[in-house]
Amino acid sequence: MIFPILSVIIFTPIAAGIIILLVKAENQSLIKRIALTAVIINLVLSAFVYFRYDVAAAGYQYIEKIPWVTSLGISYHVGVDGISVPMVLLAGIVVFCGVLVSWNVDDRPREFFAFLMFLAASVYGVFCSLDLFLLFFFFELAVFPKYLMIVMWGSPKTRDYGGMKLTLYLFLGSVIALVGALAIYVGSGMNSFDMLELEKAGFSLEFQRIWFPFVFFGFAILSGIFPFHSWAPDGHVAAPTAISMLLAGVEMKVGAFSALRVGIMLLPEGAKVWAPLILVLATINVVYGAFIAMIQKDFKYVIGFSSVSHMGLVLIGFATLNNEGLLGAGMQMFSHGIMTALFFAIVGMVYDRTHTRDIARLGGLNRVMPWAAIGFIVGGLVSMGMPGFSGFVAEFPIFMGAWQTMPMAAVIAAIGIVVTSAYILLVVRKVFFGDLPEEFGGPPKENIQPEGSPSDADMMEKPKRNLPISDINVMDKVAVGLLVLTMIALGWFPSLMAPIVQSGVDRILVILGGI
């Protein structure tokens, strides 16, 4: 019997979560070690699956299929292809780093890590699902961990609003997609939820034109498509660090991925009809997100909007429906996932020490947190699309794809990149270079005015004088190091990922062209 590696990947976090819930709440170190073990196992297995993926064979691999509800045609059917296997690896890396970064959580760590595990399982499940029902099952599974983790451990002033907004918005997206998926199921006449079979269903153009928006936009809401993106900044900022990493780094990709799998791959003709609109909206994402990011005063909001902007690039790639665009989108999902996880991790580290996210109050942190500074700078370079890093190898083909379908989009999106460079450089300079404020151990200045209006209350607490700010600890360093190395490695050796994604794209092109 072949070792059911994908099932192990999916169910290890579930098992770990259940075990953690049974542990006594006071036994913090045991809880954390269980969580760490689970994520290490997952990381190793994900890497294994990734590096052993057979590019030549293409198609779905590591398939497992067990019938679940035969009368409805539902089965537990999992497998990975060239698009999903990098996502599995991404999840493995980001969840691992998320656990590392959360090592010092001391408020009800039992629930924290258990919910984190369930969230991770949901993500793996979606990426590996080849059955439409199963995909939804895992997709919705994430709702309660997301909500609870934000309201229980998020920033005190905004977590209620941010958590509720995020959850309701995402639920809206997923139920709309559910209706569309059910329409596909019913309309196919095959009495099967199996996506491989549904690909061959041959829906009429009318059918596809009507139902494509349901599934695509429903899922794309989770990826932050304009104008349904406003949950993202509020939700991501309100969430605790590890959840922001998971949300922006992986969950948004779950949305885009599902939109691809269920929307584009099952309803390709519908995709062609709606692609121009998606392209326009995605371009707006890129530019609008960048401009809004530029004017933010809260450090975390800058990153939140930056995520919205970069996901726009992924969606542009999808909407081109051509080889280069899809290739770039696949790579960008990975690259951006790592990058934004890194950003949020570092923002969290800064906040843990300075207790503020107000850019105006931060400064000169590279003197006391050099590792964090380097990590953030690398992340910033990636987000600017600087060659030598993964962002460039992902964005380049997206633009090539865009040139072939809607050149204006490429030009306008390029403006977004320039704006991104500007705000990244400015934020880096202000927060990490420049003068270290007195409250964080810097040299005394005359006349420090306390900044901030009452509405900024969430970002600030009372400044503590001469706080000894330490650089990030070992766990954090491992996380930051892993994320940075991944982006550099991919930037210089795109062949580490491109062939795999390409094999997935080839198949999609067949679907798009064949019908």
Binding site: I74, V143, F144, L148, L172, V179
Partner: protein, 485 residues
């Protein structure tokens, strides 16, 4: 009308068993003195357990539905499965009432509970209008009393009274409808009526008219809009375990009889009643959800939530297909386990804090992580989130709607579930993120309640995951039984 008396007796063995159990309870009550502890809860629980096992092994229906007792009852999978549901609900309710100070030592309470359950099983198997009416009354009368059981509590008495008045009123309308049907067709046997209705001799308008009248009675039982007005007050005032029993078993019985009657009597005007039911469904969902938003009392909130949940189940019925009825049944199953658990938690928290306000749940996760967790699962299942049975139920009803070309109904359903999610999330947030008002004093949960809650949770999770296929097979059997005549 088949079978000799012994085999017919076997078929109704569970009902006979319940009658015997009532007798046992009353005798024990008489025999034991006033101040001795009276373990009625345990007695009835184990009694019902035995009946349940008996019913599974001895009283299974044959491969073909058959009418017994002169066409009064129909032994088929639908009746069988629903009976299992009712007995389980009653058993769980017994467990929960064991630690209720006002109820646990009262023999008549359990007797009434059993009689009501008996009525419900008859409702599910009834194949004759008279039997239906009798069964409904047998179910409802004890429930009226049970709702007002706590005589010292003004709210309880008020709720009992309200329930009674409303119930009697709607029953009367329904009876009027029944009499009309008899007048039109000349028989009270369901399937003969169905044949007569389908023959085309009876004008559609008349059929529709009787349908509406009949629906009044059924609508009341399932607390669908616009027959729902009693629900919030009754749920709030009644003893909490009874509210749980009401909201689940009684509603299920209502659905059973609704499904049976409508598929049995009105197959020829199916398009008409599907529209009617869908309107009811939408109204229930919308009104139930939106009014729930404003509630501060958790029992009232759960009442409105139940109204909305009835709406979702009605979507399944409105589809009218075998998948639709099967979906409604699965939903009922999920809902039953979930709501009993939810009300159990409400009961325990209410007993400990003395309040049924949502604000009393603040910090529950610290005071009793287990209770909070159970409530969490219950709310998530109600909202339709995996891996819980409620998710399956929702997906099934929406699939049925889509299959029946009623995409609009499915869309309205999903949009409503967003609204519902909001208020469920608020409760979750209250439990998990707000600090508790009375410090972190632990709440003690009795072993019986722990048993009941665990059973419910296990059921919710299993039917949401592994036993999905198995559960669906059962409900499909039931739905096919409803649809065959």
């Amino acid at each position: 009308m088949t079978g000799d008396v012994p085999s017919m007796l076997l078929k109704i063995l569970p009902e006979i068993g319940m009658i015997i159990l009532v007798g046992v309870v009353l005798i024990v009550d008489l025999v034991t003195g006033k101040d001795k502890p009276k373990p009625f809860g345990w007695i009835v629980f184990f009694g019902l357990l035995i009946i349940l096992i008996l019913s599974i092994f001895v009283s299974q229906p044959g491969s073909e539905p058959e009418l017994i007792w002169g066409g009064m009852l129909r032994v088929d999978s639908a009746g069988f499965i629903f009976r299992l549901l009712f007995i389980s609900a009653a058993a769980l309710t017994c467990l929960i009432t064991i630690d209720h100070p006002g109820l646990s030592g009262r023999g008549e309470f359990y007797a009434l509970l059993l009689v009501s359950t008996l009525g419900m099983t008859l409702m599910a198997s009834a194949a004759d209008l008279i039997m239906i009416f009798l069964a409904i009354e047998t179910t409802s009368m004890p429930l009226y009393i049970l709702a007002g059981f706590l005589i010292k509590d003004k709210k309880s008495v008020e709720s009992g009274l309200k329930y009674f008045l409303f119930g009697v009123g709607t029953s009367t309308v329904m009876l009027f409808g029944f009499s009309y049907i008899y007048g039109l067709t000349g028989t009270t046997q369901l399937y003969e009526i169905g044949a007569a209705m389908s023959s085309g001799e009876i004008p559609v308008l008349m059929m529709a008219g009787t349908m509406i009248l009949v629906l009044v009675g059924f609508g009341f039982k399932i607390s669908a809009v616009p027959f729902h007005f009693w629900a919030p007050d009754v749920y709030e005032g009644a003893p909490t375990p009874i509210a749980g029993f009401l909201s689940t078993a009684s509603k299920a019985a209502g659905f059973a009889v609704l499904m049976r009657v409508f598929s049995g009597i009105y197959p020829s005007i199916t398009p008409l009643w599907t529209i009617l039911i869908s309107v009811l469904a939408v109204a229930s969902m919308v009104i139930g959800n939106f009014l729930a938003l404003a509630q501060k009392n958790i029992k009232r909130l759960l009442a409105y939530s139940s109204i909305a949940q009835a709406g979702y189940m009605l979507i399944g019925v409105a589809a009218g297909t075998s998948l639709g009825l099967s979906a409604a049944t699965y939903y009922l199953l999920a809902y039953l386990l979930t709501n009993i658990a939810a009300f159990a938690v409400v009961h325990i928290v209410g007993k400990s804090t003395g309040s049924d306000d949502i604000s009393a749940y603040a910090g529950l996760s610290r005071r009793s992580p287990g209770l909070a967790f159970v409530m969490l699962i219950a709310l998530l299942s109600l909202a339709g989130i995996p891996p819980f049975a409620g998710f399956i139920g929702k997906v099934l009803v929406f699939t049925a709607a889509m299959q029946a070309d009623m995409a609009w109904l499915a869309i309205l359903g999903v949009l409503n579930s967003i609204v519902a999610l909001y208020y469920y999330l608020v409760i979750m947030k209250t439990m998990y993120s707000l600090p508790s008002m009375e410090g972190d004093r632990k709440i003690i949960v009795s072993p019986a309640s722990i048993a009941a809650l665990s059973l419910c949770m296990v059921g919710v999770i299993l039917f949401g995951t592994i036993m999905f296929g198995y559960g669906l097979n059962l409900t499909e059997l039931a739905s096919l039984a409803f649809l065959s005549y």
